[in-house]
Amino acid sequence: MAWTRDKMCQRAALELQDGFYVNLGIGMPTLVANFVPQGMNVTLQSENGMLGMGPFPKRQDLDPDLINAGKQTISELPESVYFDSSDSFSMIRGHHMDLSILGALQVAQNGDLANWMIPGKMVKGMGGAMDLVAGVKKVVILMEHVAKDNSPKIVESCTLPLTGQGVVDLIITDLGVFNFVDNNISLIELADDVTLDDISMNTGAKFEVNLN
């Protein structure tokens, strides 16, 4: 029951459209790149200064001057373009990127997002996450439905410090899919063999149900 990580990524890939410029966050969102349909052209941005990010390189092609926003070595494609950090975030802040897929710690029923900080634990920093959620046209959260301690991650209101207010457009978890219309959350899909009860038991938010 429920979706595997691959199935979650496949579902996330349905949000892609031909010609989209997309930023994928660190972790599971990165894997969505493996599920771009044949014949569809999606250009990946890396916010440290690249459009047209290619896959991880062969060992003999490792280049210390060519990394992604997660500091991993990557490769170049024919369509690759490099630019500086200011130009990169102008692209993001100025609403030129079509889609960002990110992980989350908590999403509230009004679309608030917390994904950068757990007080009391060491603070690593928000990196580009606040800019992405404030500026990208559509923000999709791809995450496990519950935390490691089984506490719900979709909540009435975020208890963790926010990354952005009312910024989430869609949540994809292993249990289903929620969307936001005017900052109101609705359950719109159930994962394989998942029931509405499964969702309710594992969700801290009040949500409408609009399954097709």
């Binding site: 062969k58 210390p64 990394i67 490099y82 950090s85 200011s86």
Partner: protein, 232 residues
Amino acid sequence: MVNKIYNDALTALDGLLFDGMTIMAGGFGLCGIPENYITAIRNSGVKNLTVISNNCGIDDFGLGLLLNSNQIKKMVSSYVGENKKFEELYLSGELELEFNPQGTLAERCRAGGAGIPAFYTKTGVGTMIADKKETKIFNGETYIMETALKADISIVKAWKSDNDGNLIYRKTARNFNPVMATAGRITLAEVESIVNTGELDPDNIHTPGVYVHRIIQGDSYEKRIERETTSD
């Protein structure tokens, strides 16, 4: 003619370092960092530095070297998660930290270089980043005001320079270097090679020489890879 080329990092830094100063350092993670200037600043022993840089290196490389030697008083960064020494100093109160969203950090540096004292952005509205910052409504939406950043010196790493200080960067090693080059009262560039003026394509200069006051050709670049990831 004014000579911008210096023999080495310590010579280039001569007369510019003082305790309590603010230094901007280009680079993203360990990519495109001014390795030679960082080492020279470590060796100089200058103290109580405010360092503006997207990250703070790792424990034994990059700006992490200045953490180990307790030369940094305050970091202005967007992400410092790669660095255990950072955590230790921060939690013990020996290190101040000002987080900026990455795009806000880049734009604040650009503003500093471009004579823009402040600008408005949606990034961080409703988060702790907005605390104590002025807000203003444009077209019914709330934005926060962010102010410009400048530095006593900026240290940047480019791929090539000509004798006039026109710089070009390579791939994602560009990152914060061009904006920080504009925001230093004095900007010091280190490069992998210096070519004669006229050899670089005038349509493709990333940092015009007007921003670059001192240049060195680094004598060795470690260019460490932080997260080697392959498809093999």
